[in-house]
Structure formats: C-alpha cells, structure tokens
Amino acid sequence: MTGQPQPGVPILRLGDVLVTGLLNELDDRTAVAFTEELTERISAEGARGVLIDISRLEIIDSFVARTLMELTTVARLLGARVIVAGMRPPVAITLVELGIELVGVETALNPEQGLAALGWRQAPQPPEGARRGTAR
C-alpha cells in the first residue's frame, strides 16, 4: 500500500491483438504513461484489436472511466478496436448509479470472450465461439 505508481503495465501481443490489464492503483501519471505506451504499440505494431482486462479493478471512478474512454477513442482513430473485459458486478452497478455510461466502450464478460470477439480464436474453434467446460 505504498501508493507508488506502478511503472509499466505489461502489454502482450497475440497476433494482431494487444492484451493488457489495468491495475487497481491507477493514478494520473500511470494512466498517462499507460495511454502513451499503448498508443505507440498500436501504431508501431499495426494492431487491429486491444483487449484490456479490468477484472482486478475494485473501483472505477470517473477518472478511470475517462481514461478508458480516451483509450478507446485514440485506439479507434488508429484503426484498432478496444474491448474491456471482466468488469466486476459491484463495479458495474456503481458505474451506472454514478451516471457513467462508458460511451463507445465495448465490453466482454471475460478476457477469453473478449479475444473471441476480436477474432482471435482458439483452435479447434467451438461452434459459436462460446466457452466450454466451466459453465455451472
């Protein structure tokens, strides 16, 4: 709990999709650095899709929401589609009560479905890209 900004959120590359995540302790500096790095990678690597895993975020306030919306807009301008995956139920409820709609941001239940939506599929591919195995 040192409040030190975490330098460099890892950004992985899977084909033409970039996969990354947001940490819980997002402050201004980290957010700006993260947006810059991601933007550079999209443009340098010609990424067509970006998956942002937010399942670790315990809250999304208007600052984090704005960061996500800006990222989405910037990525779209560069020709990449962004999917935000794994929002926790309490976070989703709080966001709508807060009155934030995450305009233009696409969502997926989890990273796997987000990747499937971005056209990055596992082989052999199940009929409709649906998940298997863990459904209860």
Partner: protein, 292 residues
C-alpha cells in the same frame, strides 16, 4: 447542584448498593404484575436485566452529570436501557409496556429509600430526583423500541425483496428475471446485484428482464430499467426486455421515454428466441464483425 441534591444522590447510591437485591426483586415483581409483557421473556432474564441496570445506575449517580443527562451520558447505563428495549422490541412487547416496565423501577427504588428514611421532605426530594432521572430512561426506551422495530421492518422488506427477484436460467448462457410489482430504487439495486452476480457465475451472454408482472411503467421505472440494462452491458452481456404489453408500450410512447437502444419483445418466448439468435449469431457478444 444544590446540597440537598447531593444528599439525594448519596442516599440513592447507598440504597442501590445496599439494597440492590431487594430493588431488583421488587422491580421484577412489578413487571410481572403489570402483566403487560405478553412475551416469552422469562423471570430469570428480567432479573438479569434488573441487576445490570441497577448496577449501572451507581456510576451514573456518582458522575456529577446533571440529572436529566445521567442516563444518556453514562455509557454502561445507556447500553443497559437500550439493550433492554431492543430485547422487548424483538420479543414482541408493545412500546407502552416497554416504557412502563422501565418506569416501574421508580416505585421499586422509592420503596427502598423509604426503608432508610421516613422524613417526608427527603422522600419528596428523592421522588422528584428519580422522576427526572428515569423519565429520560422511559423516553429513551420508547425511542429505541421504535427504532428497533423499524430496523426489523427494514430487514424483512429487504429479505422479501430478495425472495421476490429470482434469477432463473432459461437456456445455456441465457438468464431471466421475472419482475413482479414495481421497480423502485431499492428494488433495482437488488435486481442488479442478483442478476449481475448470476451473469458472472453462469457466464451468461444474454439476460432477459420480464416486466409482465409490472403494472405500470412511468419515467422512474423506465429509468431503472435503463440502469439495469446498462449494468448488464457493462458486464459484457446483452439485455432483452420482455412482457411489454400494448398498454405499456403506449404509455412509454406517450411519455416520450426513449427505450430505442434496448431490445424489447412482447413475450418471454419471443425474448428467448431473440436471445438464442444473439448467442448463435456470428459474434459471441452479439456485436458482430469489426464494424469499420
């Protein structure tokens, strides 16, 4: 504080310390006599309460706090009165019986003082002092009782609400919530909480909110529906609203409520068909293709 009040305090303190058994006995007896306590609180429990409260009065009297604030500003005494009142509230006693039970302590206490002195003036001063001291306890007891009952009612309505919003699984990755009754803020919160958790647990892709059992849709209800839909979408699932009766559709149109971004269907069956189509469509989240 006048000297006579100091004397009264001392006399009462002594009575409470030396005649505690006697006071407790008499107080319990009076409460049993009042027969107002139509509850399952037993004599043993009454006795326990009495012992605690009598003991708690001593530090209150010795604190030097003005008489009408003794009960509220002596923690142990305050707790004793509050605890007693809440137990009565839960056991189903009436608020009047609860207050009267507390006030009966006056009589028990005065009797004990009477055994130490027969001086009329002193007895009068003691009675006045005790009234001031314990009327506050009676009022606190009444207030606590009411708050305690309100708390019970709040809990019950919360439980009722949770029972009345079941989330059912209709199909692989399709969930449904049949809403019955109105959709206010509190209800919306419960619906969202249950639905979103179920979406996560079942990895559902479509949630159907059925409003067949909702009598009217006004602007507030529409807003709450929108909130629910938005929350479902943030999770990465789609939402379909079913059970839109013709009369409700008309009301929505007349009120100028914009539900155009929401997929709606007349019946639950239609909604299920739409949901299955969404799942079997080209994209798993229904948002097919790379729309650029």
């Amino acid at each position: 504080m006048t000297t006579s009040e100091a004397a009264v305090r001392e006399r009462l303190t002594r009575a409470l310390q030396e005649r505690d058994e006697e006071i407790a006995d008499r107080w319990v007896e009076l409460q049993m006599e009042q027969a107002l306590l139509d509850t399952d609180i037993g004599e043993a429990e009454l006795r326990e309460e009495a012992d605690a409260l009598i003991k708690a009065l001593v530090p209150g009297l010795q604190s030097g706090v003005p008489v009408d604030r003794v009960v509220t500003s002596t923690p142990v005494l305050y707790e004793a009165v509050v605890g007693l009142s809440l137990r009565r509230a839960r056991a189903g006693a009436t608020p009047t019986a609860t207050s009267l039970a507390v006030l009966a302590l006056k009589e028990a206490l005065l009797r004990a003082v009477q055994r130490d002195t027969r001086d009329a003036e002193e007895l009068f001063a003691s009675a006045v002092f005790m009234n001031r001291l314990l009327d506050v306890a009676g009022a606190l007891s009444f207030e606590t009782y009411v708050e305690g009952r309100e708390e019970i009612i709040r809990r019950q309505s919360q439980q009722l609400m949770e029972l009345s919003t079941p989330v059912v699984r209709l199909w692989r990755q399709v969930l449904a919530v049949p809403l019955i009754g109105t959709l206010d803020t509190a209800r919306t919160q419960v619906v969202m909480e249950n639905l979103l958790q179920a979406i996560q647990d079942h990895e559902a892709l479509v949630a159907i909110v059925d409003i067949t059992g909702v009598p009217t849709v006004d602007t507030a209800v529409a807003q709450h529906l929108m909130q629910t839909v938005n929350a479902v979408r943030l999770m990465g699932a789609d939402c379909v609203i079913s059970g839109v009766r013709p009369s409700i559709a008309q009301t929505i149109a007349q009120l100028g409520i914009d539900l155009s971004t929401i997929l709606t269907r007349a019946t639950l069956a239609d909604a299920l068909a739409a949901a299955i189509k969404l799942i079997d469509g080209p994209g798993p989240d229904g948002d097919e293709g790379d729309g650029r």
